[in-house]
């Protein structure tokens, strides 16, 4: 199954890196969508089929927690898994993410293996598939 993934981060380089890491992890990605904040993300979600949201926390206009609340409060979108990708290290903030419905969180800085492990858990994919980090066509010099 090919998953459509929405990457939400106000940092253009970080969006590029997240996409690169996910592709290199061997996930069958149908299409990547991008948004620079929560508001843009909601616009994408209204217009497109998205299977998984990977979002930063600290963003202008609408942060990741507000985006999470909007998704979980919507009857149509609430089943979409949301992964928080964040520099936040406080236990209280991480509990807040999970309590409000995040499927998981990935702490920056992250390694490709950590990212792969989290995504595989959420999507119910085996972690040691045929395509690994060295198996794709994309150069992976992260």
């Amino acid at each position: 199954m090919a998953y459509n993934i929405l990457v939400v981060d106000d940092s253009l380089p970080m969006r590029a890196v997240i996409k690169k890491v996910v592709k290199a992890s061997g996930f069958d990605v149908g299409e990547f969508f991008e948004a620079a904040n929560g508001k843009e993300a909601l616009d994408v979600l209204k217009d497109s089929w998205v299977d998984l949201v990977l979002t930063d926390y600290n963003m202008p206009d609408m942060d990741g927690l507000e985006l999470l609340a909007a998704i979980k409060g919507d009857e149509i979108m609430k089943e979409i898994p949301v992964v928080m990708i964040t520099t936040e290290g406080s236990q209280q903030r991480i509990r807040e993410f999970i309590d409000k419905g995040a499927a998981a969180y990935v702490k920056k800085p992250f390694t490709p293996d950590e990212m792969k492990s989290k995504l595989c858990q959420i999507m119910g994919e085996p972690e040691d598939g045929e395509e690994g980090f060295d198996g794709g066509d994309d150069e992976f010099d992260f």
């Binding site: 106000d10 940092s11 253009l12 380089p13 970080m14 590029a16 890196v17 690169k20 600290n58 963003m59 202008p60 964040t86 520099t87 936040e88 290290g89 406080s90 236990q91 209280q92 903030r93 702490k107 920056k108 800085p109 992250f110 390694t111 994309d138 150069e139 992976f140 010099d141 992260f142």
Partner: protein, 160 residues
């Protein structure tokens, strides 16, 4: 919060971010301010500022020569350095500041909650003068294979 704890957390965070996400080997210099590391003054230098609020508040500055930032951005994004835009290079610099500061607070004490601002580009030269080695100011000079970097932490409002 004691300065030695902040220094240890900041040092570990910088190492983790630059080595984990950028594969950049670094050495910390035994310097207390820019005057002691004249090399960084010789190049065009970018700087990112990130404010934080919490049990204590202030801001962090990350200074990096543009050539090093371009090289890091190219590796980070998988592009040729010559193909990068200024926005991509400055975005990488701001993201490094964001990751270092956020990770630093987690290493300092994961029971504390800090709110980080949105990183912004500032003029590196505007923040080099008047720096002191007081308990509220931290300077970390860093040597890479290519050049020199620096981080500053300035605490405006001390905690309890």
């Amino acid at each position: 919060m004691e300065k030695k704890d902040l220094t240890a957390a900041m040092t570990n965070s910088i190492s983790e971010v630059l080595e984990t996400m950028f594969f950049m080997p670094i050495d910390f210099l035994e310097v207390e301010n820019f005057d002691a590391m004249g090399q960084i003054k010789e190049t065009e230098t970018l700087a990112a500022r990130l404010t934080f609020k919490g049990p204590f508040s202030g801001y962090c500055l990350f200074h990096i020569p543009r050539s090093v930032a371009a090289s890091l951005s190219a590796d980070f994004m998988g592009h040729e350095a010559g193909d990068l835009t200024d926005d991509q290079i400055s975005g990488t610099v701001m993201e490094i500041a964001n990751m270092v500061v956020g990770n630093m607070f987690g290493l300092l004490d994961e029971t504390l909650v800090f709110d980080l601002g949105v990183p912004e580009l500032v003029s590196s030269g505007d923040f080099r003068g008047g720096f002191s080695s007081s308990e509220r100011e931290l300077f970390l000079g860093i040597q890479t294979l290519e050049d020199y970097l620096a981080f500053q932490v300035i605490i405006d409002v001390a905690g309890h």
